[in-house]
Each structure stands twice: as C-alpha cells, then as structure tokens.
Symmetry: C2
Subunit: 148 residues, 2 copies
DNA sequence: TGCATATCGTCAGTTCTACTGATCATCATG
DNA sequence: CATGATGATCAGTAGAACTGACGATATGCA
C-alpha cells in the first residue's frame, strides 16, 4: 500500500473511499481475529440483535447484501455456535436466525473492540471533523437508492 | 440494495464506507460505460498523466495496488489503444507506460463525466459539508500506513 | 377445492478482483 | 564474471458476490 495519497488522485472520490476502507479493514482485521469473526460477520450479529427476529432474507435486505451470500454467512456463524436457525411458525419457508448466548457475548466483546478501532481510525480528524465525517457518510450511504 | 441505513448499522464505519462506495460505483458505472473504461482504469490514466513517465511498478505503487494487477490493467488499456508500453532506455527492465493521444482524449472526456457524477453524489451534503467530507476522507485515505 | 404464481432458502457455477509464488530478463555490486 | 536485487509476466489461488435453477411453502383466484 502506498504511503501517501498524491494530489492527482486525492480528489478522486472512488479512490479515496476504497483506500479509506482498505485501511480500516487492515486496522480492524488483527483486532477482530481473536474473537473468531470478521467485520462482515459482526455486522450480521449487529443487525440480528437490533431487529430480531429476522429471517435470512430480511437480514440480507437489512445489510444490503444478496440472500445467497447470507446463506454462507449464517452457515459460518452457525458453525461457530454464534447463531441458530429455526423455522418460522408463521411462514415455514422462512429461517429465523437468532443469536445464541455465545453470539451475544461475542457481539458485545467484539463490538467493543471494533468501536475502539473506529475511534483510533477517526482520531486524526479530531472530534468535530470526525462527527461531521460520520454524519456525511451516513447521508451518502443511504442516498436515494434505485429500487428493483 | 436496501433503501435506508438503519440506526443499528448507521454507526458502523466499515459498513458505511462500503455502501457509500457501492453507491458511487453504481452511479458512475453507467456514466463511464460510453467511454469504454471503468473507474479503476480512469484512475490509471489520471496517475499516468500526472506523473509521467511512470513504469508499471511505479504506477502501481502510486495507486496502492499490486504490480500483477497493474499488468492486467495496462493490458486492457493498451488493447483499447489508450496507453503504450515502451522499454525504458535507462533501465531496460522497466516498461514505461504512456498515454496515447486517444488516451488523453479519453482521460479528458471521461474525467469530466466522472467529476460530474461525483458532484451529484456529494450534492445532498451541501457545499460546506461536502468540502469537510472530502478533506476528512483525504486524511483517512493517507493515514500513516504500515510499511512493508 | 384446486391451480397458478410468488417467495424463501439452498446450491452449483460464474465473474471479478487481487493476491502469492515462480520465472525470465536486466541491472548493480564486488 | 559471479552474485544478488529488481521489473514484468504468468499460472494458480482465494474470497466476495453474483446468476440461475431447484424444492418447499405460501398466497391469490377461479
């Protein structure tokens, strides 16, 4: 990875977003590793905890990923004992995915670790710019999307 | 893609960065398509124009991507007649990569198109927040990196 | 009731991106 | 000239995420 962003590329939004994300992932990976999950899996746990009960499809929509990708994510999390599948009684096509006790523990501990990584990542910006940045990013990530 | 970012995920930096980038790519792709190149290729053209002459290795370092990835990128751009390889006279191991006339035209036209996409993408933020956002992003993308 | 259509989860296969490791040519050093 | 380093290339690999198809189930309509 290059040390500094050169002027010519510094104004290219796509380039900046991609590299900022790469740096965050690079910083987060070693911190998350001891908990046995990665950032995407923690996001699944977060979504499940916030909106339980969710079916796989609903969780996938929530995260903006494909339902087939969610199958693999839930497979992995279930293998680790962090979530459980069960058939919905109301709609037997649906798999309700729920956190196990271990999943809740993992979410709490790994969540704290990641919060700390994010704080350090944003630290160079200072408090004010940090808040502005996250506010702006939140708006951009939820821009009026193209519906199917 | 989901319509809105829910509260639980709205504070997850990795999630926000990834989805903001996805939205930008989704917005840029159709606009870039008529020019026959994608965002990454335009970034290569930009880097070459700004720092010419560059070898493939130097261009790769500039962009923070792998040298083997650059081989494929230059292959594609050369096939489109936008860049040319030539052996360096000073160091015959190096391939100097240079824009062709068509490459310069493409950079100018596609660059304008992408600038416009970026403006529209940032528009919801307003002028002030836009500038703050880009400034912050620039700092985060060039954070003190881990050197090899 | 019975049939058509839609939805959910799953799987196989594909695409895209980017990496590692090996190889060959070339350079630099002693 | 011998040795080790560097640049470009290629083959192979890995991960993420998609498409398309399938079986099971639900829903709507005649």
């Amino acid at each position: 990875m290059s040390e500094a962003v050169t002027d010519a590329l510094a104004s290219r939004l796509g380039y900046l977003l991609k590299h900022a994300q790469q740096r965050l992932v690079a910083a987060a990976s070693p911190v998350m590793a001891p908990f046995g999950i990665d950032g995407r899996e923690l996001t699944v746990l977060t979504a499940l905890a916030a909106h339980s009960p969710l079916s796989q499809q609903e969780a996938a929509d929530e995260m903006g990923i494909d339902r087939t990708t969610m199958v693999l994510l839930v497979d992995a999390l279930e293998a680790k004992g962090l979530v459980e599948r069960r058939r919905s009684h109301e709609d037997r096509r649906k798999n309700i995915v729920e956190l196990t006790a271990a999943g809740r523990d993992c979410l709490r501990d790994a969540g704290r670790a990641r919060d700390e990584v994010e704080r350090e990542f944003l630290a160079p910006l200072g408090d004010t710019l940090s808040r502005e940045f996250v506010r702006a990013l939140r708006m951009l990530a939820s821009q009026p999307g193209e519906l199917p």
